[in-house]
Structures are given as structure tokens and as C-alpha cells.
Symmetry: C2
Subunit: 329 residues, 2 copies
């Protein structure tokens, strides 16, 4: 049969030229594979970087891109035992900007019945990124403070919501003051704008204590501001570089204050984390998505045929939420 | 009785004014204390920073400064059991630029008979710094490569010699080409100058492999050059900042290559490392000093009364070795 997909033919800035919706042959699901009808797929910053050619790992071209999504199993190949037609799943192998795809049974995240497919389409990247960063870098106790920038981003919002579930407190830095109330409503404990000097103001914002963990999605001066809010010997974990500025770290923060500067890359986490542990974490996160305690605002949903408009919108500076693609529209 | 000591009265650049040789009363050694006649004490970069007021921890003034040295026990207070008059020791509590001092038995490093007091006077700071950095940050196997800058510094030379004992290989970066042969003779496996781009040349210098650990005493562009020579997921450990430039780290090195940027401060190590483990390490290092496999070239020895001349010499850009003070001269 034939499916439709968004295929990238070259890296660059002129995506109207290099990203095309094309019909592609899809063979029947093979051994241990399921056929998935896609219901929703988000546009992530990583997708923009793949298209620009600046991402850490690039696919061989031409390639169907998109690295997240959710859909419904509509057929199963030989050997498939745990999944059945009608099950909701999130494929994890990429190439999600399409109407249908085949994926190995081991390359999908099973989703609970009743989950919202649009919210579920955003489960594979930001929620485990937020969970892993909150869990793997520091031994945090309930009540401990975590400081982050890009608090309004997809990862930032997941950090706020998952931290709340873990009974951690968050000091959140955003670029625009109009986001403060929205993030407080989401569960943030404190929200400040980038202009606030955390070296001076940090302790008074966090009840006199200092943050035990910093999460950096921006880089440059914003990252240094987070570092200044940290307790001695605490880590600053960098997962993104929206500001496109390198980290610039005064030597005293590293030598005398003992701060450590580490990175998080989901692709590495997926390879290194034992499968059983990953499945346990994803089941916990899927349950949070289902019960509404982990949710991401959706700015606008575009049909697959409007992929270029979706991209222009995703590149805009200020949005009220994620851009999604609905392949079934 | 009266001893003579170099006392600091204020922080600043005019050390002829702020650092004075003065007679001070020394009480008899108290409970569990020994009286030490000092035989040698080095001038370290940390001392220069204490005088300038830029060090991470500063003494209450006026203070006898100097943080290393070696001497001979000449009297023991009540309760002292392990040390006897005539024993060679290295006090670890600071205030070593003097003719005599009292120290708690637990605050001295016992030294083996026959050790050279001048070499032993440099045992408390650089050798454990080098050993700890080679040991605590990465699980290195014999044959693994370590890359470092400031390879001609006191720490750098200890790294070369201790790495050799641990059967590790070293790629060393120096500022001046005339140091190459000297460091090769000391046991360095490769020595290059700062102009060599390790991103391009690193693998060919290290037999096709990449370094598993980087040790940074400079900062700035030199630190980034070391980082580019590292294998994925390896740490860069900063212990000094001779170049007085912050670390500037491209985000890709942290996120995609998984490098970690950590710091080492001996004062923290001394507090956190269990005493038994520290004693084992210091005994190993003292034995290396005694047998000559761990040695630091001495540029010139000054009497205590020439402390200002010693300082001017220590601040000079290029020297052939350490500046020592001989309080007995």
C-alpha cells in the first residue's frame, strides 16, 4: 500500500525546497513488527536542527523525519504478542511525519487506553529528558530546589510537572514576564525573568537554601546565572542551547565551588539505560499524561499537507505551545 | 622562645609593604603537638593568590603564610606517640614560611628517613593533586592516554611522573618548545606546544585513540584544545587557571559528546578523603620522592630574609623550576 510522508532531501534553510510530502510504498508489517496509523506528531527543536544539519546525529538522505508521535496499531506481523490492533502506541525510531509506518514491537512505547493522542505524541522526548535529568545527576530529597532556564519550553514544563510529582521545588527562569502566572498555575514554585541576578537574589527566592541541581536549555549568560544559584558541589546539566552561545564558566565556580558541568542527550540515555528501567519510567510518564498531571499546551495543529506552514510557525520566537502535525487530517 | 616568620598584613600587589619578616613568640608544643624546625618551604602559585587576595579561602590577617614545607621534629608535647625528635615531617596546616612551628601530630605527613628535605618540602600540594586527578575522575587502564596543559608546572611534572608509575600515557601541552626534550626525559610520552590543534592532531599523537582524561591548569582556549582531544564521555578536570581566562565550552561537546567539566581543589580533597586512604597515598608519594622517581627541579633557594626577592623571582614568567625558601640559611 501507499502512505504519505514528509521527506527531507537536503540540509539547509529553505525547507520549502528540501522537505517534500511524497507518496511512499509501505510493505506489510514484517516479523515482530506492527503497522501504526499515525494520529499526531509534534515539531521539536531537534527536528529544526536536523533539517538545518546542525544536530549531533543526522539521517542518511532522503529520509522521512520527525522523531516523535502517537498512533494506533492497525495490523500486526508474525511473532507480535503484546500488541493488538486498536492499541495506542508511541513509536520511538523516528520518521513519524507520515500517515502510516511499520515499527518493531520493541521500538514502541505502549500507551494506556483513554490517553489523549495529541498529548501522547509528545511523550517520547521531553518527559523522559526531564525525568532523567531530575533523577540521574543528583541525589535529591523532597523539598530540594531545582533551578532551570527555558522554563516555558517543552522540557521546562515537563520539569515543573515531574518535579512536583517528585516533591521537588523549582525556581524557573523565563524570558517573558507574561509567562509567570501560567507557569505558577502549572505547579512552578518560583518564576523569574532572565534579568534577575540569581547570585544576588537566588537564596531569597529559595527560602535561604541553594539549588541542588541546575537544568540548562539556553547556554551563555543564562547558564552562568543558573550556576550562580547552585549550592557547592552541585551539577549544572545542559540539554539544549537555544541561545546558541557557549557555556562560559569562571574557573572559581569549578575549582573552589566544586560545580560540575555535564550534558544530557536523550539518544545516549536510550542506549545506556537498561530496557526494564526505561519501560518503568515511560509507564509512569504515560500514566501522568493520561491523568492530566503531565500536559503540554498545543499552539496549533496542522495537517501533514501544510508541513511548511507548520515549520514557519515552529520557528517563530513566541508561541503559546507546541506545533503538532495531524497526519489523519 | 622566639622564631622568625613571614607575616602577611594586607592583601595586595606591593608585597614589600604587606609581607614582613618578624620575630614571633612560639609556646612549647602542647598536648599531641610536635615542634618542627623548618628545613625548606616552596613558593606556590596558591601563595601568590593568597597574597593578592584572589584565593578561594583566605586567612585572617595578620597571618604567617606558606602552605607547604618540610622540617625535622625537635621536641614533642605530651601524648605524642608516633613521632620522635629527628623524624622528618611535612606539616599540612599552613604557615610554613618560618624557622620553627608547632603542629598537631595528626597535621603532619611522616617522611621516610633519607628523603631530600627540599624535594620533600613540595610533597603536600602538587603530588596528591596529580595523584587524585589521575585516580578519582576516570577508571583508567594501563596504556590509556591522559592529556594535560601546563605540563611544565609543578602539578604537570607530577602528573607525568605519577602517570608513568600507574602505566598511563601522557600527551603534554607546553607553551615553550624548549621544554619538550626536558619533559620527554622526565617520562612524558608526547609533548607538543599550545599551537598544535588537538582536534586535528590529537588522534595521530595518541596512536589513533583518544584521551580518557584531560587535566587543565590554564583555562580559556587551552582548555578547549584539551577537550577536543578527549574521547566521548570523558572528563576535563580543572585545577588551575594560569591563563586567567574562563572555560568556554561549545554546547555540542557537553550534549552530544558527553564530556564533563569538573574541578579539583586539594583543600576539599583533604577534607573529604578518608584519613586512612590519604595516608596510604602520601606514603606512596613519599616513597617516590625518596627513590627519586618523583622530583621537581629547583630553580633557586632563598634564605627567609630574602622573601621579597624570592617572590619577585616566583612571579617571573619563565623559570627552570620551583623557588624554595630555606629558613635555616
Amino acid at each position: 500500500m501507499t502512505m504519505k510522508a514528509a521527506r527531507l532531501h537536503a540540509h539547509g534553510a529553505d525547507f520549502a525546497e528540501i522537505l517534500r510530502i511524497e507518496p511512499l510504498d509501505l510493505p506489510p508489517p514484517g516479523m515482530n513488527e506492527v503497522r501504526i496509523e499515525m494520529l499526531a506528531a509534534p515539531v521539536n527543536p531537534a527536528d529544526l536542527n536536523v533539517i538545518a544539519g546542525t544536530y549531533g546525529r543526522l539521517p542518511a538522505l532522503p529520509a522521512v523525519i520527525g522523531n516523535e508521535g502517537a498512533g494506533r496499531v492497525i495490523a500486526t506481523g508474525a511473532g507480535v504478542t503484546a500488541l493488538h490492533p486498536g492499541d495506542l502506541v508511541a513509536p520511538t525510531t523516528g520518521g513519524t511525519w507520515c500517515t502510516q509506518l511499520n515499527a518493531a514491537e520493541t521500538d514502541v512505547i505502549p500507551l494506556p487506553a483513554g490517553i489523549d493522542p495529541q498529548q501522547a505524541s509528545m511523550i517520547a522526548v521531553n518527559p523522559p529528558t526531564a525525568y532523567a535529568m531530575l533523577h540521574d545527576y543528583a541525589a535529591l530529597e523532597p523539598g530540594d530546589w531545582v533551578v532551570q532556564n527555558a522554563a516555558n519550553s517543552g522540557v521546562g514544563r515537563c520539569v515543573i510537572q515531574i518535579a512536583k510529582r517528585l516533591r521537588l521545588r523549582t525556581l524557573n527562569v523565563v524570558r517573558r514576564a507574561e509567562l509567570v502566572d501560567e507557569l505558577l498555575a502549572l505547579g512552578a514554585d518560583r518564576v523569574v525573568t532572565e534579568e534577575v541576578d540569581l547570585r544576588k537574589e537566588g537564596p531569597s527566592l529559595t527560602d535561604g537554601s541553594r539549588a541542588k541541581l541546575a537544568l540548562n536549555g539556553v547556554g551563555g549568560a543564562s547558564a552562568l546565572n543558573l550556576a550562580n544559584a547552585l549550592a557547592d558541589n552541585a551539577p549544572l546539566v545542559t540539554y539544549g542551547a537555544m541561545g546558541r552561545q557557549p557555556l562560559k564558566i569562571p574557573n572559581g565556580l569549578i575549582i573552589f565551588r566544586g560545580l560540575s558541568f555535564l550534558g544530557f542527550w536523550l539518544r545516549k540515555w536510550l542506549v545506556e539505560k537498561p530496557a526494564v528501567e526505561r519501560q518503568r519510567i515511560m509507564a509512569l510518564l504515560a500514566e501522568m499524561v493520561r491523568d492530566g498531571s503531565l500536559r503540554v499546551p498545543v499552539h496549533r495543529v496542522f495537517p501533514l499537507s501544510d508541513i511548511h506552514a507548520a515549520f514557519r510557525e515552529a520557528q517563530a520566537e513566541s508561541r503559546g505551545g507546541k506545533i503538532l502535525i495531524d497526519p489523519a487530517a
